[in-house]
């Protein structure tokens, strides 16, 4: 038999025919088409039983109730808790994104020590011993007061433990970050001489006169305010927004009053003047014959007459009078202040002027008004024990009199050798969120030993020597007190939604173990076995309700009866005026940082949140500045042009975004960009941190940072 072409043909045909009458071909065709639909690398999320567990979101001071949806115990989604007094089912984009913070692979996964600029993961024992040794050496050198501590606020047991640790180590240098709540508190203290929490009963008001507050852009308790805003349509609440830029709040308002930047206090005082002149103030609330009121009235009427104020603010006389009439005609008007999200402090003059408006309306602690509240923290702390080193250190003078990190950093900058020898930072990121962030970064670099308790490698933690990483809030139990300006007194309990993912610790436990590693009597002031035990003991007065219900909601205690004086004399002082830094000749424009609800400050926004940011705020790695087309025309700039933005503090290359809604001559730049977190490319290395371009202005009365902007110039690249 010869093997020829036909044989091969036969072979081929035979094979084809043979296969054709078997299922193989058809099945393989079907299988391979299915195979193309099921790439092995496309994840298949496991299914299972759906459960919901409630906790509290602590990403901002709003403390919304959140429900975590779990599949077989695995958290997959965050939703708002229906019926919660703050947010009733609503939730903001950052709260929904909290799982991205939880599962973030760039979290600090274990304690770390930095040697020669290189991080090394170490055991908790080693990290604690290292930190304790450094702190111990400072104490032994009779310099305990050189240990400073910064936390976001001083509410709750964890902050309490940090403050306690600072004290028993022998230092009075405990500071909290600035917020508008702090600025309100200092203002009320200056005017009335009482220590108060403020709250605005916006839900029940009928006119909200807002002086630059980003009422629906993250101000105060954001979701609470969104819901107030939604009620406006059905409950006839009017909103008037005073601001030089058409923010989302201004756009949503019934009336937008574009006063020149930095003249909000003038406008508020002019309205006060008109109300007093026309006798349109609440005469029960104000004692007209009181000499301090008389002086205030005279000043408001004369120095801030509508004619004069029209020139300063750019708002015409009739409009000022109409504003005053609208405020007087309203049954339950309320005036609010605290710029943008209220994440920084502000000018005491501005807060006092707005407070004066509320006092004239007689709405203090009235429904729909301005509430001064006494909030009992309901905490019992055992007494502390101070050894000789501690007593000696604590007796020394505090580095800066006011509780402000800006001043502390300024002091470090000004000294050849940093007076702070060790810094503990918890829940704060001063190297990013303080104004003139570059100078703050340099100051922190001068501090010989920095301990960070952060879960993330943020700007401040990058400069630390030791990181004792904390569980993030979804991994821990902790009491949180609502600090946002809401007329509610709520203490809630966060609950662990998952077992900690990494080798982190509860910050409370970190404090306890750090204290235990110290020599002397430090540990004696921390008699608890664990943070959980401490929480239960310290919160004993409300523990039953807190642990069973997850929150304690109390009627806020009014402070109105405690007010003995109402003294607005601080407004008589011209030094209280806060001007923008820089001279007009060199810097013809004014730059204002603006808050954007889709971005955050201190901790970088999540990948989801960054994804929602407009391409006219961030494009690639470029930040934009908003500029009025008229101003842009004068400077021969058009949309998307690259420019160098220069201020007395720094300069940056940014892109131009033309926006009709911004006052000519004013530039606006979104706050919250420019995080340097290199390990997280989804949120880091994007845009410019506006805080690096604006310097702080210490308020003459409170000492808090009152800067609202800075003078600037731009030139084509």
């Amino acid at each position: 038999m010869k093997v020829d072409r036909r044989s091969f043909l036969g072979l081929g045909l035979g094979a084809a025919a043979g296969v054709a009458v078997t299922p193989a071909t058809w099945k393989l065709m079907d299988d391979s088409s299915i195979w193309t639909q099921n790439w092995p690398w496309t994840p298949v999320p496991p299914d299972g039983e759906v459960t919901f567990e409630d906790t509290v979101c602590t990403l901002c001071s709003g403390n919304c109730g959140i429900s975590v949806r779990k599949i077989n115990g695995r958290p997959v989604k965050i939703e708002g808790t229906t019926g919660h007094p703050v947010n009733d089912g609503g939730v903001c984009l950052h709260g929904i994104s909290a799982l991205q913070y939880l599962y973030d692979p760039s979290r600090v996964k274990s304690p770390m020590i930095k040697t020669d600029d290189t991080w090394k993961e170490v055991s908790w024992e080693k990290a604690l011993a290292h930190a304790a040794e450094a702190l111990g050496n400072i104490r032994k050198a009779d310099n305990a007061n050189a240990i400073a501590c910064i936390t976001d606020n001083d509410k709750g047991t964890v902050s309490g433990l940090f403050k306690r640790l600072t004290t028993v180590l022998g230092s009075n240098n405990y500071y909290t970050m600035d917020t508008m709540e702090k600025a309100w508190a200092t203002t009320i203290d200056a005017v009335n001489g009482v220590k108060a929490h403020v709250g605005f009963d916006l839900k029940n008001s009928d006119l909200i006169l807002s002086f630059g507050s980003g009422f629906i852009e993250g101000w105060g308790a954001p979701v609470y305010n969104f819901q107030v805003n939604a009620r406006r349509k059905t409950h006839g609440i009017k909103l008037i927004q005073v601001e030089p830029r058409l923010s989302n709040t201004a756009a949503a308002a019934d009336k937008w009053v574009p006063a020149k930047p930095g003249t909000e206090a003038d406008l508020a005082l002019a309205i006060c003047g008109v109300l007093i002149t026309k006798g349109l103030y609440n005469k029960k609330a104000i004692q007209a014959d009181d000499p301090s009121f008389k002086a205030f009235a005279k000043m408001a009427q004369e120095k801030y007459s509508p004619a004069r104020t029209a020139r300063t603010t750019g708002i015409d006389v009739a409009s000022i009078q109409n504003l005053a009439m609208a405020f007087a005609d309203a049954e339950k008007p309320v005036a609010i202040a605290g710029r943008g999200k209220g994440d920084s402090a502000g000018s005491t003059r501005e807060f006092a002027a707005v407070y004066a408006l509320n006092c004239l309306a007689g709405n203090i602690n009235a429904p729909g008004g301005f509430w001064l509240m006494d909030k009992d923290p309901a905490e019992v702390w055992p007494s502390i024990e101070m050894d000789a080193m501690a007593t000696q250190g604590f007796a020394r003078a505090k580095f800066v009199e006011t509780d402000t990190v800006d001043s502390l950093m300024a002091k470090v900058t000004a000294s050849a050798k940093s007076p702070v020898e060790a810094l503990l930072v918890y829940n704060a990121n001063p190297c990013y969120s303080l104004k003139n962030a570059k100078a703050v970064t340099e100051a922190v670099k001068k501090i010989p030993f920095v301990i960070s308790f952060s879960s993330y490698m943020d700007e401040t933690t990058q400069l630390a020597d030791v990181v004792l990483p904390s569980h993030m809030f979804l991994e821990r139990r902790e009491d949180v007190s609502l600090t946002g300006p809401v007329p509610l007194d709520i203490t809630a309990l966060t609950r662990p939604m998952v077992s900690p993912l990494f080798d982190t610790r509860h910050p409370g436990d970190s404090v306890l173990s750090l204290a235990a590693a110290m020599e002397g009597s430090v540990a004696a002031s921390f008699p608890w076995e664990s943070y959980d035990a401490c929480l239960e003991a310290v919160k004993a007065p409300v523990w039953k309700a807190l642990s069973e219900k997850g929150s304690v909601v109390k009627e806020p205690v009014s402070l109105v009866k405690k007010i003995e004086r109402m003294d607005f004399s601080l407004l008589l002082n011209d030094t209280a005026v806060v001007a923008a830094e820089g001279d007009e000749a060199t810097y013809p424009l004014v730059l204002m940082p603006v808050d954007n609800i889709r971005l955050t400050g201190e901790i970088a926004a999540s990948p989801f949140a960054v994804k929602t940011v407009s391409d006219k705020v961030l494009k690639g790695t470029d930040s934009f500045i908003e500029i009025n087309p008229e101003t842009a025309d004068q400077l021969r700039l058009s949309q998307g042009d690259e420019v160098t933005l220069t201020t007395p503090v720094g300069s940056a290359i940014v892109k131009v975004n033309l926006f009709d809604g911004i006052m000519p001559g004013v530039l606006a730049m979104a706050h919250g960009l420019g995080h340097t977190m290199a390990e997280n490319p989804y949120v880091g290395g994007k845009g410019v941190n506006v805080n690096a371009l604006v310097g702080p202005v210490m308020d003459a009365i409170s000492g808090l940072d009152a800067a609202w902007g800075i003078r600037a110039k731009i030139s084509r690249v």
Binding site: M1, K2, V3, D4, R5, R6, S7, F8, L9, G10, L11, G12, L13, G14, A15, A16, A17, G18, V19, V21, T22, P23, A24, W26, K27, L28, D31, S32, I34, W35, Q37, N38, P40, T42, V44, P45, E49, V50
Partner: protein, 224 residues
């Protein structure tokens, strides 16, 4: 080569022009004969491997962690829903979790080797049993047990067959290409179906839907 070509050429010319001579026929026969032989051989090899070898190659066989006797459990516990139940939210719990089994099997209660393995390896170690699920649909499929079992009053057998009467667990067969279970793809390699539970592909769902509801249904009804 050239000789061969010439011959073929001659052959074909001849057959065209003058018909086929005996001599040439014989020559040609041997060529065709080889071709046919090759054809038959190749056909046979491919046919047989397509029917016998391919189905075995296509599926990998995996054994369950240990044997499970459905019949025994049905006898002891009652209907299917005593273990395969609906959750309160209407979703179907599917294969029981360890916690459910522990209700009875906290300790060894029978004398089978399988139960001993179960208690020693899983109950005591608090480890879920990694059952291989014969009727596991791919991720793109949404299937509502409540719509079929409660809504349409179908019985389990219609789709799952008489698994409740089985005393042993058959090996789990996984399609090497698609990763699907053979019970989804169909036991019969040619795709013939004798019983309603022989296969669980989209066409099978559509067939029944068309018969019962008058429409194959919209895509989202079964896809996610």
């Amino acid at each position: 080569m050239s000789e061969l070509e010439e011959k073929t050429e001659n052959g074909s010319t001849d057959s065209l022009e003058m018909g086929v001579s005996e001599e040439q026929k014989a020559e040609g026969d041997s060529g065709i004969g080889a071709g046919v032989l090759f054809f038959i051989a190749a056909f046979a090899v491919c046919f047989l491997s397509g029917w016998l070898l391919f189905p075995n190659l296509l599926y990998s066989k995996k054994e369950q962690p240990f044997n499970f006797n459905h019949a025994l459990h049905v006898e002891e516990m009652g209907g299917c829903d005593s273990c395969h139940y609906f959750r309160e939210d209407g979703s179907f719990a599917g294969v029981p979790k360890l916690a459910q089994c522990v209700d009875c099997h906290a300790e060894v209660m029978g004398d089978t080797e399988d139960e001993a393995v179960f208690v020693a390896e899983y109950v005591e170690k608090e480890k879920e049993v990694p059952w291989l699920i014969y009727s596991e649909q791919p991720d793109c499929v949404f299937f509502s047990h409540s719509a079929h079992v409660v809504g349409a009053q179908m019985d389990c057998v219609s789709c799952h067959g008489h698994i409740g009467e089985s005393t042993t667990m058959k090996p789990y067969e996984e399609n090497r290409i698609t990763g699907y279970s053979r019970d989804i793809w169909g036991k019969n390699i040619w795709g013939f179906k004798k019983n309603s539970w022989d296969r669980m592909k989209m066409d099978d769902c559509a067939e029944c839907h068309e018969k019962e509801t008058g429409s194959k249904g919209a895509c989202f009804q079964c896809h996610k």
